[in-house]
Structure formats: structure tokens, C-alpha cells
Symmetry: C2
Subunit: 207 residues, 2 copies
């Protein structure tokens, strides 16, 4: 997971690296100007002055491009989460869950455009159900651990584990762009209110 540059079998050809920069730059510029949702792969290719084929060689779709654009911020998010878990290791699981959710909502508020870009993807190509996408997959593990701990001492019970997995899944769909945007735009909730409601719904236990 930590192979960024150098030490790889075939580092990357110079022209390829240059194109990658061009793509990233163009995408950033266009996303910034028109919003991630409105920008097409075509536009990005044109702006980067490369052919569509070249763009698709590197990023199978806009999702992957957006993900690459956020990579650093995602790492930061998980650092924050781990720090929070460390700090509150003696707190209740629901306290920790609230913290995680709050951190994620903060992240979403910053990178909403790109996050939505990551999640949107033509129904056909959907390789894996995004529950397994890197970001959500990693988050899922963390959430499951909290839910399991919340179930008291019977953590090795299969039913308890299954329910923890399920709850984590549900919390993640609740945090998906689609659902989150609906709460903001249709229901008119503030980020803080959303965090509050999620807590009431998924881990109402008192601290």
C-alpha cells in the first residue's frame, strides 16, 4: 500500500509521468471551475491535450480519477480517525462511533464534489459494489470493531458479528453521497444535525 514512487519494477516512463501530471492538473482546474459532476472525461482529455484513449488507459473512469485526486486527503482522514480512537480508547464505543462519523462528515463537507465523483459510476461498469471500494472498505473494518465491542462480552458470537457487519454497512450507505446529499438538500439538515441523527439511529446508547 506504500509504494508511491521509486523502487517499483518499472517506475513509469517520462512521457507517461508528464501526462499524468497534465491530467491531474487539468482535472483539478476543470473540477474547480465547473464542479466535478459537470466535467466529462472528454473535457479533461481535451484540457490536458491528450487523446481520450490515453486518459482511459490510466483511469478506467472518473471515479478512479477522483480517488487519485483525493488520495492524500483520505490518508489524512484515516490518520485523524486513528488518533481519535487512540485518544478515546477508554471511552464508550458509541462515543468513538460518534467521533468517527463526525470526522467523516467533516471530510465529506470539504471534499464533497470529489467524493460524489468517486461514488457515481455508470451502473454497467460497477466492478464492485463500492462497499468494497478502498475508502469504504477500510472504514467498514473500523466501524465493525466498534459495533462488536458495543455488544458487550459476547464478541465471538457469530450472530453478533453478523449484526455488527450489517450495521456498519447501513451506516456507510447512510453516509454515502446520495443519502447525505438528500439529508442536506431535501431535509435541510446541517452537518451537525446529521451526525446527531445518525447517532440516535445507529448507536443510541448513552455514553
Amino acid at each position: 500500500m506504500d509504494d508511491k514512487e521509486e523502487a517499483a519494477p518499472r517506475p513509469e516512463r517520462r512521457d507517461a509521468a508528464e501526462n499524468r501530471q497534465r491530467i491531474l492538473g487539468a482535472a483539478l482546474r476543470l473540477f474547480d471551475r465547473h464542479g466535478a459532476g459537470q466535467v466529462s472525461m472528454n473535457q479533461i482529455a481535451t484540457e490536458a491535450q491528450i487523446g481520450p484513449g490515453t486518459l482511459y488507459r490510466r483511469y478506467r473512469n472518473k471515479s478512479e480519477l477522483c480517488l487519485d485526486l483525493m488520495k492524500d486527503n483520505i490518508v489524512l482522514l484515516f490518520d485523524d480517525i486513528e488518533a481519535y480512537l487512540e485518544t478515546h480508547r477508554d471511552g464508550s464505543p458509541s462515543l468513538r462511533l460518534r467521533g468517527i462519523v463526525s470526522l467523516f462528515v467533516g471530510f465529506r463537507e470539504k471534499k464533497n464534489q470529489l467524493l460524489a465523483g468517486v461514488e457515481e459510476s455508470p451502473p454497467a461498469n460497477r466492478t464492485r459494489p463500492r462497499a468494497l471500494s478502498p475508502l469504504y472498505g477500510q472504514l467498514h473494518e473500523i466501524l465493525v470493531a466498534q459495533f462488536e465491542e458495543m455488544s458487550g462480552s459476547a464478541q465471538d458470537n457469530a450472530a453478533v458479528q453478523a449484526n455488527a457487519v450489517f450495521k456498519a454497512d447501513m451506516l456507510l450507505v447512510a453516509l454515502s453521497s446520495e443519502s447525505y446529499a438528500a439529508q442536506r438538500d431535501v431535509r435541510g439538515l446541517s452537518p451537525e444535525e446529521i451526525v446527531e441523527q445518525l447517532g440516535l439511529t445507529f448507536f443510541p446508547e448513552r455514553d
Copy 2:
């Protein structure tokens, strides 16, 4: 909502009505053979022997077409739900919620293809966040009522109402095609297990 034929200001031109039948027939045939997700509007138009423009004149997108194809079944679903609510009017709200969810899951299992077709829709055209689509909108109302009743006597409390709305929203995203399919295909849960888990997650109160 109950204007099917006759009594409308402009009934519908004869040729238009004929085309509608052709479209419905073609769609049904193709969906049945290749699955709703794989069939394009183009194919439907070709199969129905009409131009693409004619197809789009009637149905803005595949969503609407699928919805029209399910209209009757949706009415039946709500009839079932109302009957269930009537029968169990003295039961606990969580019992009723379980019943509703179970009924809906049964519906989904039958009409999964079409339901997915209704929900999938290109990100751009998304008129309203599907939380307001007829099917989900109506379901939402019913769910809210149950959640409110579940909160005991303080049903006029604004916070209680807000939370009921939120929980209903969350339950509905949990029942969306995307989430449901993931539980079935990725997690390998049976419909019954999904109903069970939804109960544990969203209304764990004992009956």
C-alpha cells in the same frame, strides 16, 4: 392519481395509444429476455418500431418506463401493506414495521429487475433525489407514522418527529436496490436474514 383512461381532457390519440402499447410490449419482452439493466432505450425503440424521439416523448428515461411497467404491482403492494396495518393495528409499532419491511422485501424479490431500473438514473437528470419518488415517498409516510408511534406519548415533539423522518429515510436507503443487492450478493444474506437484520438495526424494541 386514478386517471387511467377515459374522462381525461384529451384522452389520447389513437396512434399514440397504439404506440404506447407497442412500447410497453417491447420493453416487457426485452427486459424479460435480457434483464432490465442491459436493455437500452434505443433497443426498446427499435423493438417497438418507433423512433427514439417518440419513445422519449412518452418516457423521459428508463426509470419512468419501468415505473409504468410496475404501476399495478405497486398498487398491490400498498394494498397489502394497508391490510397488514389494519390487521395488526393493535400490535406494537415494531411488529408493524417488520411486517412492512417484509412485504417490501417480498415485492423487491419479485420485481427486482424493474425496481432497480426505476432507481438507476443518470446522475445529471436526477430530477428529485428519489426519496421523493412516488413509491418511496408514499412508503416514507407510512414508516414515519410507525416510528412516531414508537416514541411513546411525545409524538408532538419536534425532535421526535425529526428523528422519525430521519429513521424512515435511513430505512429506505437501506432498502434501496444498491444496498439490498450488496447485502444479497456481497454479504450473501437471504431475504429473510435481511429483514431480520433490518429489524435489529432500526427497531430492535421487543414486541
